[in-house]
C-alpha cells in the first residue's frame, strides 16, 4: 500500500489563484522523495494539504489524499479522523514551529500527544518511558545535551533537528518536511538533510521533503517531483534533472533553483551539477 496517495487535488485561493492544479502523486513506503520548485510553485501548499492542515477545493475538485490507505481529506473536507492520521504523520516545517518558551524536551514530548489519552496529554503527564524515548530521539539527532534548554536558545539547525526528534517520537511512518533547510546555513542544512536521510535509510520511514534548491534534491533523494505554478511538471529519477531539463521546465525561474551553486562558489554551475549527480548515485545506491 502506498504511504502517500494524492489524487485529483485542486486548490484555488481567492477564487482565481490556482495554487494546485490536478495533482496526482503516489509515494511508496520507504521512499525518499524531493519536491522541488521555485517560490510560489505550490510546494508548501501541497505539503500542508497532505498533512491535513489545509482543506482543498470543495466538491469533486478537492480530490483526495490517503496516508497509508486512510483518508486525511477528501472532497475539500478534512476527514473527521484526521487527528488520528496526523498522529502517524511527522511534519517538519521551514520555521521549525517549536514552542520557543518550552524546553526542548517538552517540545519533543508533544510528539506523543496524538498517542496518549487526552486527559494525560492536556495535563502534560508524560510517563518516564516517554521521557526516555524523547531523550533517545534527541540523541539520535545529536542534540541530547540541549534537552533541558529552552527551544529559543538553540541555533536554527538545532531547532530543526529538535523538530525532527518530535516527528520521530510520534513513531510516524511518513515524514513530511516543508522546506526544512530554507532558513539554515549550508553546514546546518547538511546535518538536517543527513538526519532525514538517516531516518529514511535506517528506519525505513517514508520521507517527502520540499526543497528550494535542486542540488540537495539530487544529493539526497533518488526521486524528484518538480512543481511549476501548481502543476507537476516532472516526476522521476533525480539523476535525469540536468540543467538543460530544468531550463526547459522552468525557463526564467531556473536561476532561482540553481542559485545555490552560484552563491557557494563561482564554478560553472553546469560543470558542478554534472559532477554531483554521479556522486549522488553512488551515495544512494
Amino acid at each position: 500500500m502506498p504511504a502517500i496517495q494524492v489524487a485529483g487535488l485542486n486548490k484555488t485561493f481567492n477564487r482565481t489563484n490556482r495554487a494546485l492544479v490536478d495533482i496526482h502523486l503516489t509515494v511508496e513506503a520507504g521512499e525518499m522523495v524531493a519536491l522541488i520548485g521555485a517560490s510560489g510553485s505550490g510546494k508548501s501548499t501541497l505539503i500542508r494539504h497532505i498533512a491535513g492542515l489545509v482543506a482543498a477545493d470543495r466538491g469533486n475538485a478537492g480530490g483526495r489524499i490517503l496516508i497509508d490507505g486512510v483518508p486525511i481529506q477528501q472532497g475539500g473536507q478534512v476527514s473527521p479522523g484526521a487527528r488520528k492520521v496526523r498522529a502517524t504523520l511527522g511534519v517538519v516545517f521551514q520555521q521549525f514551529n517549536l514552542v520557543e518558551r518550552m524546553s526542548v524536551m517538552t517540545n519533543v514530548l508533544t510528539g506523543f500527544l496524538g498517542q496518549i489519552t487526552a486527559i494525560r496529554g492536556t495535563l502534560g503527564l508524560f510517563s518516564k518511558a516517554e521521557k526516555l524515548a524523547a531523550l533517545e530521539a534527541l540523541d539520535r539527532v545529536g542534540i541530547a545535551q540541549t534537552a533541558a534548554q529552552r527551544a529559543s536558545t538553540l541555533s536554527g539547525g538545532q531547532q530543526q533537528r529538535a523538530a525532527i526528534a518530535r516527528a520521530l517520537v510520534q513513531g510516524a511512518e511518513v515524514i513530511l518536511a516543508d522546506e526544512p533547510i530554507a532558513s539554515l546555513d549550508p553546514a546546518s542544512s547538511k546535518r538536517v538533510m543527513d538526519t532525514l536521510a538517516k531516518i529514511n535509510c535506517e528506519d525505513g520511514k517514508t520521507v517527502l521533503v520540499s526543497l528550494h534548491q535542486v542540488d540537495y534534491a539530487a544529493r539526497y533523494c533518488p526521486r524528484t517531483v518538480a512543481l511549476r505554478a501548481g502543476e507537476i511538471v516532472y516526476d522521476g529519477p533525480s539523476t535525469n534533472l540536468t540543467p538543460d531539463l530544468l531550463r526547459d521546465l522552468y525557463s526564467s525561474e531556473c536561476d532561482e533553483l540553481l542559485a545555490h551553486h552560484q552563491s557557494e562558489e563561482s564554478v560553472d554551475l553546469e560543470a558542478q551539477l554534472a559532477s554531483q549527480i554521479p556522486a549522488t548515485m553512488a551515495a544512494t545506491a
Partner: protein, 269 residues
C-alpha cells in the same frame, strides 16, 4: 555640464501648508472649546469660590493635622483585610479569565462562541465594581466577601479582554506544529498557545492586582469590607485627624504593593 548647472539653479521649497488641513485643525479646536463651555453649567463649575472662600478651605485642612494614629492597629488590620480581599478577588478573576479569555479570542474560538463571550465580558467590565459591591452586599451580607465577589466579576471582564488580545497576537506556527502531532484542540491551546502568552498574562494579572487593591480601599464605603468601612465612618464623624491617618496608611500600602508588583512584572517579561 548642464546637469550640474541645473542642480545649482534648483532651490528647495517647503511644502505649502494645506488649506484643507488647517481649516480642519481650527474646526477641531473650536469644537473642543464649545464642548468645554457646554459642560460648564452641568459640571457646576465655581472656580471663584475656591479663591473667595480659601480661608475656609485652609481651616478645613488644618483639621487633618496632625494625623491621629492612636488606633493604628485597627487601621493596619483593616488595610490587611483590604489587601486580602484584593488577593482573592484577583485570584478568582485570573482563574475565570483563562477560559473566558481564550474563548473570546477570534483565532481560537468560532464566532458563535467568541461573540457572546465577548459581550458577556463587556457587561462584566462595563459595570463598576462599586455597583457590583452594592448588589452583593444585599445578596451575601455586609463584609469583605461581598467585596471579593464584586472584584471577581469586574476583574474577570477586564482580564478576559486583555488575555484574549494576547492570544490573538500569538505566532500561529507553533500551534500548527502541535496540531501536526495529532493533538486535540485543548492540547493545542495548552502546549501551543499558553506558553506563548504566559508572560503577558502574568504581567496583566499583577497589574490588575495593583488596581484591585486601590479599588478595594473604597469598596468598604458601600459596606463591602476593608479599610473603606472605617474611612467612611471617620469622614462622616468629622474625625479629620483619623481620616488623615487612614489616608496615609492607604497611600503607603498601595505604593509599596505597586513597587513590589512592578518588580515582579519586570521579572516575567
Amino acid at each position: 555640464m548642464t546637469s550640474i548647472v541645473d542642480n545649482r539653479a534648483r532651490t528647495l521649497e517647503l511644502p505649502k501648508p494645506e488649506l484643507k488641513r488647517s481649516i480642519t485643525n481650527v474646526l477641531a479646536w473650536g469644537l473642543f472649546v464649545v464642548i468645554l463651555m457646554w459642560s460648564w453649567e452641568g459640571a457646576d463649575m465655581r472656580p471663584m469660590e475656591l479663591i473667595r472662600d480659601s480661608g475656609n478651605m485652609v481651616q478645613y485642612l488644618y483639621g487633618f493635622f496632625p494625623p491621629n494614629f492612636t488606633e493604628w492597629e485597627i487601621y493596619a488590620q483593616e488595610m490587611l483585610i483590604t489587601i486580602q480581599l484584593a488577593v482573592w478577588g484577583t485570584a478568582l478573576a485570573v482563574v475565570c479569565s483563562i477560559p473566558c479569555g481564550i474563548l473570546s479570542a477570534e483565532n481560537i474560538a468560532p464566532w458563535w462562541i467568541c461573540q457572546p463571550m465577548r459581550r458577556a465580558m463587556d457587561a462584566a467590565r462595563a459595570i463598576n465594581e462599586i455597583v457590583f459591591a452594592m448588589l452583593f452586599v444585599v445578596a451575601v451580607g455586609l463584609g469583605p466577601f461581598a467585596g471579593v465577589l464584586a472584584l471577581w466579576i469586574h476583574t474577570t471582564g477586564i482580564l478576559a479582554k486583555l488575555f484574549s488580545e494576547a492570544v490573538e497576537a500569538i505566532d500561529p506556527s507553533p500551534v500548527e506544529g502541535i496540531r501536526a502531532t495529532g493533538a486535540t484542540r485543548l492540547e493545542e491551546v495548552v502546549f501551543g498557545v499558553i506558553p506563548q502568552v504566559l508572560p503577558l498574562w502574568i504581567s496583566y494579572s499583577l497589574y490588575r492586582f495593583e488596581s484591585n487593591v486601590r479599588s478595594a480601599t473604597v469598596l468598604g464605603i458601600v459596606g463591602a469590607g476593608g479599610i473603606g468601612m472605617i474611612l467612611w465612618e471617620v469622614i462622616r464623624g468629622f474625625q479629620y485627624a483619623e481620616t488623615a491617618a487612614i489616608v496615609i496608611i492607604i497611600v503607603v500600602s498601595v505604593s509599596i504593593l505597586d513597587v513590589i508588583s512592578q518588580r515582579l512584572r519586570k521579572l516575567v517579561i
